[in-house]
Every structure is written in structure tokens, then in C-alpha cells.
């Protein structure tokens, strides 16, 4: 029996065992492998095979959820009984309308991104790729750390209203942090097809950055022009999405978009959308309710356009339909955009540097966290390559800085945008395609010793 047949069998069995008014079954299967290295050797190397089943049982307006990863009939029956028992004792969820129907879910033509090479990749292949990075690091007298992972993920979704979905996707992530005595460099790659992973480019970029980052000087905190490379831009976008681009946050007044749809929220040169069907991202054509993922324009030329919906949040607004952004059933934060694209510009990073009188070039952020979700204020540190730029040239590496800044304020201060977006992992669930940007002003509020 193939993995697809096994998952489809579980889906149909669960629906047969169910007695609720409506039942939804979500099965996710995964084979994941991760090779982790540090100080130029492999210190962890893991493999995991798992299949998880989530059952949502609905009686009228009451919903229960139960999950298991045991696939025998007795365990599946017990899981369904759990979900149904949980549902029955609840008060009504008054604004719940229904699970999505087959008609609501839409026709699907797009494909998930899948690579046979990724599915067949081995621990030896990952180790040899890591070995190329560590060898270059050793040659330069540095220490390299990072991870190389590959995964095959299988999604099966069925409900009693006629939805039947199945797809498989692959993903490969490679990261490299190369550390010298006084500074470090970073590079990463994200591909569906592991054969397209530019291992040597990742190694050379991280080693080069590390070389450039040695002997950093301290600069005073304050407001600076700033050039943010794609990883830093993607970090801000993922927090923007988490804090306010889902319908539930909007409906509850917690989002920066609340009451501002149609209004200007950033500069005119900032445009952001979500598209789970674009093969330039990590396309999976339906969400965790089986609904077709739609392209949603979130912010267009600086104007707040829309947020994303699942069936529950859509049902709370007259005339709204799910946009195909439901999260896994146990998530209680509503719909989220997981395939974000920021519109690129026409500049090379070198152009952004040339246009800077006195500013700071940031490779990436570290440990970013929200301070004020409505104002979109975040704080975090720079990491793995921070540089002072003066009169259009990189003058010297600098010690890491703490920033405290509004994300919308940052995207209101964009002077120029890079032309080469990078695909960056987002919370391990989604991806963000983001270019480098140059901002007129960004607030650094503290320094550190390295």
C-alpha cells in the first residue's frame, strides 16, 4: 500500500466511524531528516516518521477536536468518540456556520511543489554537503554551524460534506553560520528540490561574511539609515503577518489593520500579498480545511487591502468566503498567510549601499519579539554580519545592535528595494519571499559586546 493509499484509507475509515452531524478528518504524514553541525562536525543527525490524525466533530454549533498518531481501527474509533464527546458537552458557538462544503472548497488546478530528488535524499548526501561547508570553514580558520534538513510531507483532508484532498510536498532547508574569533557570517537556502540547493554559494557567502565581520567596532545607538538584507525583511514581514494579517485579529480589534482597511498604512512602494499556489514559494494548493488557497492582496502600494480567512472567520462577516488560509485544526489563532511575497524593486544591494551616506547594513535579525501589536513595534538584535556604511561604502564591521522600531514605520520609510528576493522559512510553517530594502530611518536602542 502506498503512503497515499494508507492516508486515504484512514480518512475514509474515520468518516465511516463518525456519527456527528459533520465530521472533518485531517491526516498529515511526514518523513523528516535533519543533519545538524557545529564547530565543523556533525553533532546531531535525526530521522522521524510520523502520521497524525485530527478529527473535528460537529453537532449543530458545537465542535470537538481529538488527535492521535495511532492508526489502528481501535485508536481511530477512540479518537472519534473523544471528539464527539467533547463536542456534545459544549455550549453553542453561535457564529459558527458549517464546515466548508465541496462547493465552498473550489476546484484545484495548482500543484504542490514536490521533488523526487528530495524524497530520495540520504543521510550520506546531507553529510557530504555539510562537509563542503565545514571544509571551507576550516580552510579559513573558522567554525561553521547549521542544519541541513529534507522533508516529505503528505496532506490528506476529507469531510462529510464531500471534500476529498490529497497532496505531497517536499522541502529542503540549509543554513550556515560561520564564526571567527570576533564576528560571524550567515547564509541559507530553501528549496523544494534539494538538487537545486546552492551548497557552495551558501558556504562561500557565510564564510565571506564572517571574514568581513572580524574586528567589529562599537557605534552609538540612535537613528540610522539602514539596509536590511532579505532575511531581516522577511523577519519583519512574518511578525506583521502574525500580529495582524489574519481575520481573527482584525475582528477582535487586535490587528493594526482593524478599522484601517482602505487606508494608507505604509509607504507607496510597499506591496505585500499571499499566494499559496505560486511555485516560486512552497506551494500547497489547499489549506487545512481543504479549501483552495487564493491569492490575497494584503497591502497594495501602501494601502491596507485585506486579511486572510478560514471558514469560521469568514462566516462571522456577511458575504465573506474563506480565502483558503485555515491553519491545522488545533491552532486557535485563526487563519494566517503562510506564503507571503513582497514586491521586489530594481536595485542591487550594492546600489543600496552606494546610496547611503551614513547607515548600517544588517544581514539578519535575532530573537525578534513584538512589543506593541497595534503599533507593530518590535525589538530584536542584529546578528551574523552588521556593518557601518559611510559615503556609499562599507566602512567596517560593527558590534551587534538592539533595535526597537515599528514594522509599519519601517515600511513607511523605504527609499529603495532590492531586485533579488530570497525565500525565507517562516515559523517553520510557511515561507516569505522578500528582497533587501533601504530605509531612511531605523532606531537602534542599544549595543552589546560582540
Amino acid at each position: 500500500m502506498t503512503a497515499k493509499e494508507r492516508i486515504q484509507e484512514v480518512l475514509e475509515k474515520c468518516l465511516r466511524f463518525a456519527s456527528a452531524d459533520q465530521t472533518e478528518v485531517v491526516v498529515t504524514g511526514q518523513d523528516t531528516y535533519l543533519t545538524r553541525y557545529a564547530t565543523n562536525y556533525i553533532h546531531q543527525n535525526t530521522a522521524e516518521t510520523d502520521t497524525q490524525v485530527s478529527v473535528r466533530s460537529v453537532f449543530g454549533k458545537k465542535i470537538g477536536l481529538a488527535q492521535t498518531n495511532a492508526l489502528d481501527d481501535a485508536s481511530l474509533k477512540r479518537t472519534i468518540e473523544h471528539a464527539e464527546r467533547i463536542a456534545k458537552v459544549q455550549p453553542d458557538l453561535l457564529d459558527f456556520l458549517s464546515l466548508p462544503s465541496k462547493d465552498d472548497a473550489g476546484e484545484i488546478t495548482a500543484q504542490a511543489v514536490f521533488s523526487d530528488r528530495t524524497a530520495a535524499s540520504t543521510a550520506e548526501e546531507r553529510a557530504r554537503a555539510v562537509g563542503r561547508i565545514t571544509a571551507l570553514s576550516v580552510k579559513n580558520g573558522f567554525d561553521a554551524a547549521g542544519a541541513f534538513s529534507t522533508a516529505v510531507v503528505r496532506f490528506g483532508i476529507a469531510n462529510s460534506l464531500g471534500i476529498r484532498r490529497y497532496t505531497e510536498a517536499t522541502r529542503a532547508n540549509l543554513s550556515a553560520i560561520v564564526m571567527g574569533p570576533t564576528g560571524s557570517g550567515f547564509a541559507e537556502g530553501l528549496q523544494s528540490d534539494v538538487g537545486k540547493m546552492a551548497v557552495d554559494r551558501v558556504a562561500e557567502t557565510a564564510v565571506g561574511k564572517c571574514r568581513d565581520a572580524q574586528n567589529p567596532v562599537a557605534v552609538e545607538p540612535g537613528d540610522y539609515e539602514v539596509i536590511l538584507e532579505p532575511a531581516a525583511v522577511a523577519d519583519m514581514i512574518q511578525f506583521l503577518a502574525y500580529m495582524g494579517l489574519g481575520a481573527l485579529a482584525l475582528q477582535e480589534g487586535r490587528s493594526f489593520m482593524s478599522g484601517r482597511i482602505g487606508q494608507k498604512v505604509t509607504g507607496e512602494n510597499f506591496t505585500l500579498w499571499d499566494d499559496g499556489t505560486d511555485p516560486a514559494g512552497m506551494a500547497i494548493p489547499f489549506d487545512f480545511e481543504g479549501v483552495r488557497r487564493q491569492k490575497v492582496m494584503l497591502i497594495e502600494k501602501g494601502v491596507a487591502k485585506s486579511v486572510v480567512y478560514d471558514s469560521y472567520t469568514a462566516g462571522r462577516e456577511p458575504g465573506k468566503k474563506s480565502t483558503g488560509h485555515a491553519l491545522p485544526p488545533a491552532a486557535q489563532i485563526g487563519a494566517l498567510p503562510l506564503n507571503l511575497f513582497m514586491k521586489p524593486g530594481d536595485a542591487e544591494v550594492e546600489d543600496l549601499i552606494k546610496a547611503t551616506k551614513r547607515g548600517i547594513l544588517v544581514t539578519r535579525f535575532h530573537y525578534t519579539n513584538p512589543l506593541h501589536p497595534v503599533l507593530t513595534t518590535i525589538t530584536g538584535m542584529t546578528r551574523d554580519g552588521t556593518f557601518l556604511v559611510e559615503n556609499g561604502k562599507v566602512k567596517s564591521p560593527i558590534k551587534n545592535m538592539r533595535f526597537t522600531n515599528g514594522i509599519l514605520d519601517a515600511f513607511d520609510a523605504i527609499e529603495a528595494i532590492g531586485k533579488r528576493p530570497a525565500l525565507v522559512d517562516m515559523f517553520g510553517l510557511g515561507v516569505c519571499s522578500a528582497p533587501a530594502v533601504k530605509l531612511k530611518k531605523f532606531s537602534f536602542t542599544g549595543g552589546t559586546e560582540h
Binding site: Q44, A70, P91, R126, T134, A147, R254, G447
Partner: protein, 462 residues
């Protein structure tokens, strides 16, 4: 080899309805193998001897692949083989309490949160959770250990919304259902209903509260914020794997390098911090870690001087120590054990909270963490809390919203001049400690009393 099964239940109610009620079962096994000093790990949720043998073969193959890259090789400190079974104690099995009774309690408490908010609380929530983990550990060195750990807890939260403003208040400590290794008695002891109106009221009051003042102030951190302060600035930097660089690819390294061991001045002489896996009811409490090493109490910082790390069998050997102090923990069957905090506790001092406030001329008292960020060597941090009150001339004054503070770890702890006494000491659970790739979420504990720090920069970015 470890076989791990977990059953869990979470119930969350929001604005008068059930937001989510979930029962979960998760089980599987994982094998960690060491071959020629290189590690391999493989795991599966598929039962049966045939699968076990296939997974064992896969783990060995992965270990051989690891050895393709030259470099450091693991040597393990010895451990005595043991056969044992241990269960964390509880009084009332949380899985025996009727779901309807749990819902009634939560709905009643949540309604009072809304009542307390007076229309300004847009989102009121109450939640409860329970988890039981059963794990069996067997090693080729001859150990066979079974452990069962039951956790339980509950909480309330209120989100008040005003023009351009969102304020949160929670009880007892942030957005977390699980608070310790207890049964349902822990939920009953919380008195959710009795605390609910205050939570709603304070969320609403925060909308109108003044901003936290900016500049150097003396701060007194409640135990709820000390949890985060200890966790980020002592718990993580004393993990020896992090010191050796094996977390560099993800969350970073540590400023507490091995040359500092035994002599570095981490904080003032008021600061004694221990890693204690033996303290009752802690979320970092166990009898054996996931290498079969007995859980124990280790002094990390003694009267301000940095004394030890949390270690594994591999890192202890590398450091030249004779044995691991038992801090290797894995997040379930499908993860390789890594060094994790146990219960990282600040030992009590001799102050009451009232004495501390009376002794403070110009300060801020802060409760319950809301935001956190720290650099990749655990030096520069900026933490924010839900609520604060000004302290003026020895008395609590006005409420302040979104208080935050920043510092450099050893400078900050050097400014610690007053630690609360045993009566004020409290052990909290932290069920959301992320570390490692693939990500592992550990349940750890932190105990402390309210603590004062002098001349701290507060109100950053206000």
C-alpha cells in the same frame, strides 16, 4: 531507546463560547546510537518489532553518515545502570474530572473577566490543560527506567482594546495552561473565579494608564517576571552544549565560556542560582534524565560567582568532569535528547516585598512577562511586562502600561541587592522553552522570590 506516549487535554473558552477543546494521544519510539564517536538518531510512530529493527538500522546508518565529516567525537561519562520506576505525585487525576465540570468552571471565570472589563475587554479567555507522559528508557549499558509525569494547570487572560491600543492581563502567569507537575488540585488552588474580575479590570485600566517612565530606575520584579529573567539570562547561558557551540546554528552560544568557570563574577553576592531536578512539583522535576542519569541539584551561581553548567554525559567528559549532572531531556519520542534546564531557581534572601518597596526611592514594580528578546550570547536583553506600578519614596504609586527594561546580563545581576524571603518564594512552570533543530519544546521550572535590581534602564522606546 525511549518509548514515549503522551495523552493531553486542552480546553479554552473565549467570550462565552468554547474556543477549542482537544484530546490528544501521541506515541512512538526513538533510538539514539553512538558509533565510532558519531551520533545517529531515528524514530517512528509505527508500532511493531519489524519497524523497531528497521529504525535501529536507520539510526546506525545515520551515525555512519555523521562520521563522514571529521571533527569532534563523543566520549561519554560513565553512569551506573539502574532499573527503576517513578511517577510524579498528584492528588486528583485531571483526566478523571468531568469535562462538563471543567467547562462550567472556565465559562464562569471567563464571564467574570468580561464583567470586570466593563466593555473594554474585547477578548476574554479561560483555559485549562493536562498532560501525562509515560516513558520507558533502555540502554545497552543495562538501564531500564520507567517514568510517568503528570502536569496540570489553568489560566485567564483579558485583552482590552482602545484607539491604537491593546493591553493584556493574565492570571496566574501569562498564556499558559500547564503550570506544574500536579493534578487537578492545582486548578482548584488557583481560584480562577475569585481572580477573574480583577484580571478584566486591570486590562481595562491599562488602556488609561500612563506610559512607563524612561531612564535609569530601581526595579522590583515579581516572581512571574523573575521566571523569564532567570530563564533567559542564567538558564540558557549555563547550558554546556550552547557553550560548546552546538546551538550556534539556531539560538546562539553563551558568554559564559569555560575559561570563566569558577571565577567569573556573574552577579552580586545576593545571587545564588541552582539547577534542581529534585524540587517537588516543578516542571523540570524528574528522577532520571533521558540518558538515565539521576536528576540532581547543582549550584550554578554561588553568591555571585559562576560555579557550574547543566551538562550531559558527552559535555561533562569534554569539560573534564567525572559525571553528567543530569540535564539531557528530549521533547518526546521523535527528538534526540539535548541539554535542557531542569528547575533553575534563585535561592531566597531575607527581604519581604513590603520592606523592599519601602526601601526604594525611585523605581518600578513589574509583573508577568509580555515580551522578551536577548542576543545570541545571552548578554544584551530587553524584556517587557504586562503591568507595572511606579515606586516613589517607598510606596507603590500609579499603574504604568507596557513597562520594559534592558540590560547586559552580568551588569544587571551585579545590581541585584535584595532578594525576597522563603515566604515570598514561588516555583513556576515554563512549558514553552524552545531549543534545538528540529525544534524541541521543553517544560522547565523557575523558582524565585520578588527581587530588586538597581539602576536599570527602563521605558526603552517609550
Amino acid at each position: 531507546m525511549r518509548f514515549v506516549s503522551r495523552v493531553g487535554e486542552t480546553i479554552a473558552v473565549k467570550n462565552g463560547a468554547v474556543e477549542g477543546a482537544t484530546a490528544s494521544t501521541d506515541l512512538g519510539f526513538g533510538l539514539r546510537v553512538l558509533k565510532d564517536g558519531a551520533w545517529g538518531f531515528a524514530s517512528s510512530s509505527t508500532p511493531g518489532l519489524e519497524e523497531v529493527l528497521a529504525v535501529a538500522d536507520r539510526a546506525v546508518g545515520i551515525a555512519k553518515a555523521s562520521a563522514l565529516v571529521p571533527g569532534q567525537r563523543a566520549k561519554l561519562a560513565p553512569v551506573e545502570p539502574v532499573e527503576d520506576r517513578w511517577e510524579s505525585p498528584y492528588k486528583k487525576d485531571p483526566f478523571d474530572v468531568k469535562l462538563a465540570d471543567k467547562l462550567e468552571l472556565l465559562l464562569s471565570a471567563e464571564k467574570r473577566v468580561r464583567d470586570g472589563g466593563g466593555g473594554k475587554v474585547m477578548v476574554a479567555q479561560a483555559s485549562a490543560g493536562a498532560r501525562r507522559e509515560e516513558k520507558s528508557f533502555a540502554s545497552t549499558e543495562g538501564s531500564y527506567i520507567e517514568q510517568a509525569i503528570t502536569e496540570c494547570g489553568a489560566g485567564l487572560s483579558a485583552y482590552a482594546v482602545g484607539p491604537g491600543e491593546l493591553q493584556r492581563r493574565t492570571y496566574p502567569n501569562g498564556d499558559r495552561e500547564l503550570t506544574g507537575c500536579y493534578g487537578w488540585e492545582a486548578v482548584e488552588a488557583l481560584d480562577l473565579v475569585g481572580n477573574a474580575e480583577r484580571v478584566g479590570q486591570e486590562a481595562a485600566q491599562l488602556l488609561e494608564a500612563k506610559k512607563c517612565p524612561s531612564g535609569p530606575k530601581d526595579i522590583i520584579l515579581d516572581t512571574t517576571q523573575m521566571v523569564l529573567q532567570i530563564h533567559e539570562s542564567c538558564g540558557h547561558p549555563t547550558e554546556l552544549d550552547r557553550v560548546y557551540g552546538t546551538e550556534a546554528g539556531f539560538a546562539g552560544t553563551s558568554f559564559l565560556t569555560t575559561d570563566k568557570l569558577g571565577k567569573f563574577k556573574y552577579g552580586s553576592d545576593k545571587v545564588t542560582i541552582v539547577a534542581d531536578a529534585t524540587v517537588p512539583h516543578g516542571m523540570g522535576t524528574f528522577k532520571y534524565d533521558d540518558e538515565g542519569v539521576p536528576g540532581q541539584r547543582t549550584v550554578l551561581v554561588d553568591k555571585g560567582t559562576f560555579k557550574n553548567y547543566t551538562t550531559s554525559r558527552e559535555t561533562a567528559t569534554r569539560l573534564g568532569q567525572k559525571a553528567s549532572n543530569g540535564a539531557m531531556r528530549a521533547d518526546g519520542w521523535n527528538r534526540m535528547p539535548i541539554i535542557r534546564m531542569t528547575n533553575i531557581n534563585l535561592e531566597p534572601g531575607d527581604w519581604t516585598l513590603d520592606e523592599m518597596i519601602k526601601d526604594t526611592k525611585d523605581g518600578v514594580y513589574m509583573e508577568i512577562n509580555k515580551s522578551w528578546s536577548i542576543d545570541d550570547k545571552r548578554l544584551n536583553f530587553q524584556f517587557g511586562t504586562e503591568i507595572g506600578w511606579e515606586i516613589k519614596d517607598g510606596a507603590l504609586g500609579d499603574m504604568v502600561k507596557s513597562p520594559n527594561y534592558t540590560g547586559i546580563t552580568p551588569e544587571f545581576w551585579a545590581g541585584c541587592d535584595a532578594v525576597g524571603d522563603k515566604k515570598h518564594w514561588k516555583l513556576w512552570g515554563t512549558p514553552n522553552c524552545g531549543k534545538g533543530e528540529p525544534m524541541q519544546v521543553a517544560h522547565v521550572g523557575h523558582g524565585s522570590a520578588p527581587t530588586r535590581f538597581r539602576k536599570v534602564r527602563v521605558g526603552v522606546g517609550q
